[in-house]
């Protein structure tokens, strides 16, 4: 027999070669016709509007609650602590040089006072919310120097403000410079000065000396150590004192977002209850005058000024009470009803802004508090509207528009064509027409989705306009390949809804039990690429 070695090796190599060259399955593809539900939802008014905007009444009807802040007047309107810089210097004036030994005093550290000019306000105490002190030093002495900066009446956690700064020595080529900043957040600063009777006064002291661990050095004529410290960007968390007298007038508009999405149509409301509130959260006496309050619809250009006894009248409002850090505000409130004002036409104007003119006078009687005015950060004088609109209304072609992000590229990637079936079981007493517009990058409309027949029927109502039972509507939405291609490339969609209430102009009341069940079913041709 021949040597089997070579044939055996050949056999093994062939086995290994074939074993290593396994072919994997390809990825077959085919198209199927599928029928499946896509989304399902049951929406009552709680789902359409945020929960916090709705309130259920004893008869299960709903009331829309809305708060709009018209005007506010805070501490920075009353006064502002300016940025201030203080310069301190030590200069050797004489011709004969001075020998300085380690530890020798350059600046003796006597108390200094700086008085701020704060727009007529006389502050006795502030708690700093944010701000800092900046120290800049120029040293011409050729030895390391130490500086102790102290503000005895600025405390934090019962510790007074004190900083030790080490200044590098000057060299033969020139002086040394040093800069640093120190955060003053949380410091309580007594601004009454050393006597305790002043105001707007910061007391401080600076001590400068040659470093004890240094060496003896010589100071020549005009050699100096200059220190500049600055108080910058000071924002008070709390201020106590007398804030002066003044009249602050403001005429502006405030955004009113309740009807933001309404772009057309008519809305008639059965009733509206509005409280106009003037809230004083500051420890100052004030006097208010609301010159005007106007409902402005920018889209139509229509304005409806408020007609009510409060317009043009002067309202006195006393100071708030500080209960150990808890502010108890003083509130003046007046109600606007349909029988004492034209509030209904103001609301039916569908405003997107409320225009106002307000005069606020602080401390009209002067410093009657003995310089005990106070104010906290973010608090002050405010004017707002608390609105309650019972959902009893009549709508005629009331059109709402919203824009949502649209990205179905992943989900619809393999959909060749589809017909969507929208099943809506409507339990609301209004019919709805829906149109969906596809937008390009410039928010221009490039296509629409819904067919011409796009109305969801209203639920039938009885003689009292109360829904008897829901009504089912089916909408068929064909999506051919071209439309799907546009949808896949679109990133924004505009939803336009048009409402018509039953038996317009009769009012229909919305109850918490009303809802609409919507289900979207897809009848699609889908491309499968299997693994």
């Amino acid at each position: 027999m021949k040597n089997p070695g070579r044939p055996l090796i050949f056999l093994c190599l062939c086995i290994w070669g074939i074993w290593s060259c396994r072919k994997e399955f390809g990825r077959p593809q085919w198209d199927i016709d599928g029928l499946a539900p896509i989304v399902t939802t049951s929406l009552d008014f709680d789902n359409i509007l945020a929960d916090s905007l709705l309130q259920e009444n004893p008869d299960n009807s709903l009331t829309l609650v809305y708060n709009n802040n018209l005007y506010s007047f805070t501490a920075d309107s009353l006064f502002e602590i300016p940025d201030t810089s203080i310069d301190t210097a030590y200069v050797w004036q004489f011709i004969n040089p001075l020998i300085l030994n380690p530890g020798d005093i350059l600046i003796a550290g006597a108390p200094q006072n700086t008085v701020y000019n704060i727009n007529g306000a006389q502050l006795r105490k502030v708690i700093i919310r944010s701000g800092y002190m900046k120290v800049e030093v120029k040293n011409e002495i050729r030895e390391v120097c130490k500086v102790i900066y102290q503000i005895p009446l600025a405390t934090k956690n019962s510790q007074p403000f004190s900083k030790l700064i080490t200044i590098p020595a000057a060299t033969t080529s020139g002086p040394s410079f040093f800069t640093d900043t120190f955060n003053l957040n949380g410091y309580t600063i007594d601004l009454t000065g050393p006597s305790g009777n002043g105001y707007n006064t910061v007391s401080y002291s600076i001590t400068a000396y040659v470093d004890s661990a240094g060496a003896q050095t010589t100071v020549n004529q005009f050699d100096s150590v200059g220190i500049t410290n600055s108080f910058l960007d000071m924002v008070p968390q709390y201020a106590l004192g007398y804030f002066g007298q003044g009249i602050y007038a403001s005429a502006d508009t405030s955004a009113f977002t309740m009807f933001n999405r309404i772009v057309d149509g008519t809305l008639r409301v059965d009733s509206v209850n509005i409280k106009l509130n003037v809230i004083n959260e500051a420890g100052i006496d004030a006097r208010f005058n609301i010159g005007s309050l106007t409902s402005i619809n920018s889209r139509t250009g229509s304005s409806v000024p408020l007609s009510h006894p409060v317009i043009g009248s002067t309202v006195n409002i006393t100071r708030a009470f500080d209960a150990a850090g808890t502010v108890i505000p003083t509130i003046y409130s007046t109600a606007l009803y349909r029988w004492n004002s034209n509030i209904i036409p103001m609301i039916e104007n569908l405003p997107d802004k409320i225009g106002y003119s307000v005069n606020a006078e602080v401390n009209p009687l002067g410093n009657i508090s003995g310089s005990n005015d106070f104010i906290y950060y973010g608090m002050g004088l405010k004017v707002n509207l608390d609105m309650e609109i019972p959902l009893s209304f009549a709508a005629d072609r009331l059109t709402l528009v919203d824009t949502v992000d649209l990205d179905i590229s992943a989900e619809a990637e393999n959909v060749n064509s589809a017909t969507l079936h929208l099943y809506a079981n409507n339990g609301f007493p209004f019919e709805t027409s829906v149109q969906l517009y596809l937008l390009d990058g410039n928010n221009a409309i490039v296509d629409s989705i819904m067919p011409a027949v796009n109305t969801i029927d209203e639920a039938p109502v009885d003689a009292n306009n109360i829904v008897i039972q829901p009504k089912m509507t089916r909408l068929v939405i064909p999506l051919d390949a071209n439309k799907l291609a546009v949808m896949k490339s679109t990133r924004k969609m505009m939803i336009k809804i048009k409402l018509n209430t039953a038996n317009y102009p009769q009012y229909v009341k919305i109850y918490s039990s009303y809802k609409i069940d919507v289900q979207l079913v897809g009848d699609f041709n889908y491309h499968i690429s299997a693994r």
Binding site: P7, S20, G26, I32, G34, A36, V39, T40
Partner: protein, 431 residues
């Protein structure tokens, strides 16, 4: 010099090459010597090696065209789907094998004092898959569920088995004589690479007429080897198997013949404790992704809300070892020799644990020349229906023998109409 005749086995039945080769020897000797079976002289010592590769795919419904499109990653057109649909019954089956390897065979001058014994050693890489599926399952998967709107599709009675393993085989054959035929056995060590066994007892997919809801009543279980360990080097299980054969010579109408009994792949593989077991008996209901608030649409068009609800869930998942019995084959064949030129073989085989029906075949061989043989084959059953094939075997370069056959020529000639495809190639050489 004996001519090596490799007779292709029936559907799914590929006896280990050594035994086959020996069968060939037994058959060849009579062919050379006027078909007189002279067992009194045993062959001289020799060594021989053989390379082989074979594959087949057969089905009662999946046409060759369909299978090729799937395998090559092509697009399955509506016509391709429809041609398969025309062949569907309530229950349909398919099966495939892919084997390749090599065997080394040796007949020493003396083997424990005997000169009638051959021994062999071989290596094979093996892939087997089989399955049963319902007509509705095919329609839902390939056409979609829209056609079943308002109805229920029965996706149950579905089974799928995929088995991939490597085999190291050792065997001996004791050569027979006129009184009794050859017989032999082999023992194999198995390395389990991959296994998946899926059994869907019940799967009812109900689609409402308007498409507003879909229900799935599912009862299934699946066992699967460690999915983190894949590829030829994966060692996910071990096992052993046996092959046996016995021949009985006979004479009919003055023509010699041999009846042969074969048992292949009688064995098992034990899969390791990283194997997965999944059991499901649940009722699912789906009526769309639930949107609770219109604000959900602000951030994403189709929110990832609650996609479905399980009405009743009985779900079990665990990692545990399990045992797979190999799809063993039991085969009976009768081969009759007509003179020097013609051989007629007929047989029946049955494969256990493989979703397979009995397989019937008839093979008529003709020696065109002493060194060249051609055969025509007709077969029915197994995983498919009727098919026909051909075989060619020839001696080349003095010591080498080449064998090529296919039992599924109809599948190649008319892939749109017939199911099944497969080829066997073997090359052996003596040294």
């Amino acid at each position: 010099m004996a001519i090596s005749i490799t007779t292709s086995a029936p559907d799914n039945v590929k006896p280990f090459p050594c035994l086959l080769f020996l069968l060939n020897l037994c058959l060849a000797a009579p062919a050379l010597m006027a078909q007189d079976k002279d067992t009194s002289q045993y062959e001289a010592p020799f060594m021989e090696g053989e390379l082989f590769a074979d594959y087949f795919f057969n089905s009662s419904a999946l046409t060759t065209e369909f299978v090729n499109t799937v395998y090559s990653g092509g697009y399955i057109t509506a016509d391709i789907k429809d041609r398969v649909t025309g062949k569907l019954r309530y229950s349909n089956r398919f099966g495939a094998d892919l084997n390749y390897g090599a065997v080394f065979r040796c007949k020493p001058a003396s083997f424990f004092g005997r000169n009638d014994i051959y021994w062999s050693a071989g290596f094979r890489d093996r892939l087997h898959l089989d399955g049963v599926f319902s007509q509705d399952l095919y329609k839902v998967a390939l056409y979609g569920n829209k056609q079943f709107a308002g109805q229920s599709a029965d996706l149950g009675n579905t089974r799928f088995n995929l088995l991939r393993f490597q085999q190291l085989q050792f065997g001996i054959v004791i050569q027979g004589d006129s009184a009794h035929g050859d017989y032999g056995f082999s023992f194999s060590l198995l390395k389990g690479e991959q296994n998946m066994a899926l059994d869907v007892d019940r799967a009812i997919l109900s689609t409402s007429a308007d498409g507003t809801e879909i229900d799935l009543d599912l009862a299934m279980n699946m066992r699967r080897s460690d999915t983190a360990s894949t590829g030829p080097r994966a060692f996910n299980g071990y096992g052993a198997s046996f092959d046996l054969f016995y021949e009985i010579p006979y004479v009919t109408w003055y023509n010699y013949g041999t009846m042969r009994l074969d048992i292949f792949d009688l064995g098992l593989i034990r899969w390791n404790n990283r194997s997965m077991y999944l059991k499901h008996d649940s009722l699912y209901h789906y009526d769309g992704i639930e949107i609770n608030d219109l604000n959900d649409l602000q951030n994403q068009t189709i929110p990832s809300g609650n996609a479905d609800s399980v009405v009743n869930a009985n779900f079990h998942y665990s990692r545990e070892p399990y045992t797979t019995f190999l799809p063993a084959v039991f085969s009976i064949s009768a081969t009759t020799y007509y003179g020097k030129k013609f051989i007629f073989e007929k047989g029946i085989s049955y494969r256990f644990n493989a979703n397979c029906r009995p397989y019937y075949y008839a093979n008529f061989s003709w020696f065109i020349r002493p060194a060249v043989m051609v055969s025509a084959i007709a077969a029915y059953g197994g995983y498919g229906n009727f098919n026909a094939g051909a075989e060619l075997e020839a001696r080349i370069f003095k010591n080498y023998m080449i064998h090529i056959d296919s039992y599924y020529l109809l599948g190649y000639l008319m892939p749109k109409k017939f199911c099944g495809q497969g080829i066997t190639i073997g090359l052996s050489g003596k040294f």
